[in-house]
Amino acid sequence: MIAIIFRLAWRNLWRNNRRTLIMLVTIAVGIWAMIFMTALMRGMVNKMVRDAVKVLPGHVQIHHPDYLDDPNIVNSIEEHPDGILLQVLNGPDIVAWSSRVRVAAIISSARESRSITLLGVDPATESEVSFVAGKIVQGSFLNDGDDDGIIVGRKLTETLETGLGKRIVIMSQDPDNEIVDRGFRITGVFDANTEALEEGYVFTGVTAAQNFLGIPGRVHEVAIVGRGFRQIDGMYQAVKNAAGPNFSVLPWTELNSYLGTMLGVMDGFVLVWFMVVFLALSFGLVNTLVMAIFERVREIGLMLALGVKPMIILAQIIVESVCLLFFGALTGNLVAWLTIRPLQDGIDLSSYAEGLEMFGYSTILYPEMTVEDVFTANVVVLSLGIIASLFPAIRASRYQPVEALIKV
């Protein structure tokens, strides 16, 4: 019984092979567009999030409860967490964590000054959390927390007209709001994705920063990196519970609400895009089926007259539609894979660099074809395709045999 349904559906499909081929191409184009576009968008947004997370915040941050509202030197926390918090931080869900001094400051060379964020970091832990250690283009990264050398961005060395080995002055505020300033020597220059980063952040050893600012043993944030930027809920809750009410613990989605929202908007957009493509496709699909049924009303009448149950007629048309959808989707998936594969090494978009920077995108785009998206695209097309073909199929199964037989 199933065999005859499939045989009929399959042969009927190829009765008009031009129409079937056009429909297959349409479905394939639709699926390809779904997967391809989504891979590009995912690549962009994921890269953006990964970069942003790598640049500074990590996945989760711990602060003094008042720090985010009032990022002042006095709103500091213990450099070395202890007790349960330390256990959680060293637990299996957390890849790396780093304590940082973070204050606003003014950096001056002999000719220029700029306002910057000064970060006092422990190079051993910091290099696993943020990008800077790996992006040193001149000199070297800090040796240890006591290192009082200073690491600046390349763009900043240009605006300050200074360079590796030169001295600069950093001016900030101590806990009593007295101005403190001190000369530092530039021991490293780093490169970053954006000029804003190169101009905005300056690094020195955590102990050196504490001594300079007069806050021994204190830091302003602990940045934590987990297993992946999408799977942070468990880790975030664990840290939050361990830290207790005396700390503010926030995930990156809240620290950078733009990025967090973008990720959500992205997920929504992918679904909307799938739906739009599917709808554009469904008109053709339903049309093809309606035509295919219209052409063989007589046959359907004959089968009904011979005693075939309406359900079998319905099943046969659905199987026909499923065959179309399946082979169209198969081709679409294959073409998507073939077109995305050569792009795996990245698409150079540097001609749009500044525009992309405004979105927070990187200039090299790595498409990401995820199993979830491919799965969703196929499920959307197949399941909704079947639902759409129910409408002509049900009509066909409701024919009265006599009327159908008379129809020319």
Partner: protein, 435 residues
């Protein structure tokens, strides 16, 4: 094209021989057209807002800067006698501009004269450490002309509490709300500015907060600090120098012409460079281009799918009429004429789709124009791109017709194959084909 009555009637009736098929094909067209109309007008509405809001913040349409100041932003790269130059520009550009408009309605010129003139303001910029009683932050402080600044920038209009700067010499400062919170200062509190002057000397001033601005954009609200230009010049030893002369044209479309005129006035000062907004905010145009690019990819897919749908329909309709075509061809009708009939049928369908798409699309856009469009995440996105949380799409004939016209063209294109096939048709064979 043969548009006499009988051909048209024939085409029309042929279309409705299979009403369900025609309606489904039309449905695909209308669906695509509605999406295109809505998306394109939303996009252009957004772009317009993005450009306008970004430029009216601080950038203006044109800026006169010292050579290399745009890239380096050093305090020494200043414009000497900036206010004098600004006055010159103001006079010359407006005189020339008015002359240019003389041919047009004089009354219009009188009533809107104020709006139609080119606005110009001078600014100085310096980095300084701003300290309140118990907080210090490094900021970029701006010296502005209180009488001209409100004409070129929307910042003075964002005063949430207090007032804007009153006088060019007053010891006053206006700061953003986030900065005020971080410095823990309020109206009438004093702020100490410490930095280096034009000549590298130590610069310091104590000034009173008279106004606090709020834009809702955290970055902007953290960075705004404006003081009167003359006080700025004294504090930072600028003499009569400043860093930028901002020019704001009455409309984006006037920028090019004003730029040419302004450049003429700057010819004798080679140390100065005139930058236009694209130069100053390269990210703006590029982000629009990048967005357009991805949008057109999506539209392309949509249009392709519709074209396939039409192709399938027309091919079917030609195939099932093979016998009929054979008969009329044996009566002496040329394949070319039959081909035109097929194209005409498609064209009728296309026009119907176009009309319905534009009509419904316009309705939706007009509705959105009244109530605005917002979507989850719009708030955060808006802050990133200087957009409000609600967008009122733009309605111009171009934007309305653009998408549907392309769909129409693609529709006609896809009927070419079925139409051209008729040339290979042999009447005798065709008549024998199963109807």
């Amino acid at each position: 094209m043969l548009l006499n009555n009988i051909t048209f009637r024939l085409a029309w009736r042929n279309l409705w021989r299979q009403p369900r098929r025609t309606l489904l094909t039309l449905g695909a067209m209308v669906f695509a057209n509605i999406i295109l109309v809505c998306m394109i007008s939303l996009q252009f509405g957004m772009y317009g807002l993005m450009i306008d809001n970004t430029l009216s913040m601080l950038t203006g349409h044109l800026k006169v800067l010292a050579l290399n100041y745009k890239d380096d932003g050093k305090i020494r790269q200043s414009i000497d006698e900036a206010e004098t130059l600004a006055r010159q520009l103001r006079n010359d550009l407006n005189r020339l501009k008015n002359k240019n408009f003389e041919g047009e309605s004089a009354a219009n010129n009188d009533t809107e004269g104020e709006n139609n003139s080119v606005k110009i303001a001078v600014r100085g910029k310096a980095f300084a450490l701003a300290s309140s009683e118990d907080r210090s932050f490094g900021i970029l402080v701006m010296g502005v002309e209180p009488e001209h600044e409100p004409q070129v920038s929307s910042i003075p209009g964002l005063i949430q509490r207090g007032r804007y700067l009153s006088d060019s010499k007053a010891e006053e400062i206006v700061i953003g709300s986030v900065l005020a919170r971080n410095l823990q200062v309020d109206l009438d509190d004093e702020i100490t500015l410490i930095g280096s002057g034009h000549d590298g000397s130590f610069a310091a001033a104590v000034i009173t907060v008279v106004g606090i601005t709020q834009s809702g954009m955290t970055d902007l609200d953290r960075s705004i600090a404006q003081m009167p230009l003359q006080l700025f010049q004294e504090t930072f030893a600028m003499g009569n120098g400043a860093h930028e002369i901002v020019i704001r044209a009455p409309d984006l479309s006037d920028v090019e012409e004003i730029s040419i005129r302004a450049q003429r006035l700057l010819d004798d000062r080679p140390s100065l460079v005139l930058h236009d907004w694209d130069d100053l905010e390269p990210g703006l145009k590029q982000s629009i281009q990048a967005d357009l690019f991805s949008a057109w990819f999506m539209y392309g897919v949509l249009i392709t799918l519709v074209a396939f749908s039409v192709l399938n329909t027309m091919l079917m309709s030609v195939l099932e009429r093979t016998r009929e075509f054979g008969i009329v061809m044996s009566l002496g009708l040329t394949p070319g004429r039959l081909g035109r009939l097929v194209i005409l049928e498609t064209a009728i369908m296309g026009v119907l789709g176009l009309a319905a798409g534009i009509l419904i699309g316009t309705g939706l856009v007009a509705w959105a124009g009244i109530y605005g469009i917002t979507f989850p995440g719009m708030d955060e996105m808006g802050k990133q791109f200087n957009l409000p949380a609600r967008i009122y799409p733009d309605l111009t004939v171009f934007q309305l017709a653009l998408g549907p016209s392309i769909v129409f063209a693609a529709t006609l294109l896809s009927s070419l194959w079925p139409a051209l096939r008729l040339h290979w048709l042999e009447p005798v064979q065709a008549m024998r084909a199963a109807g």
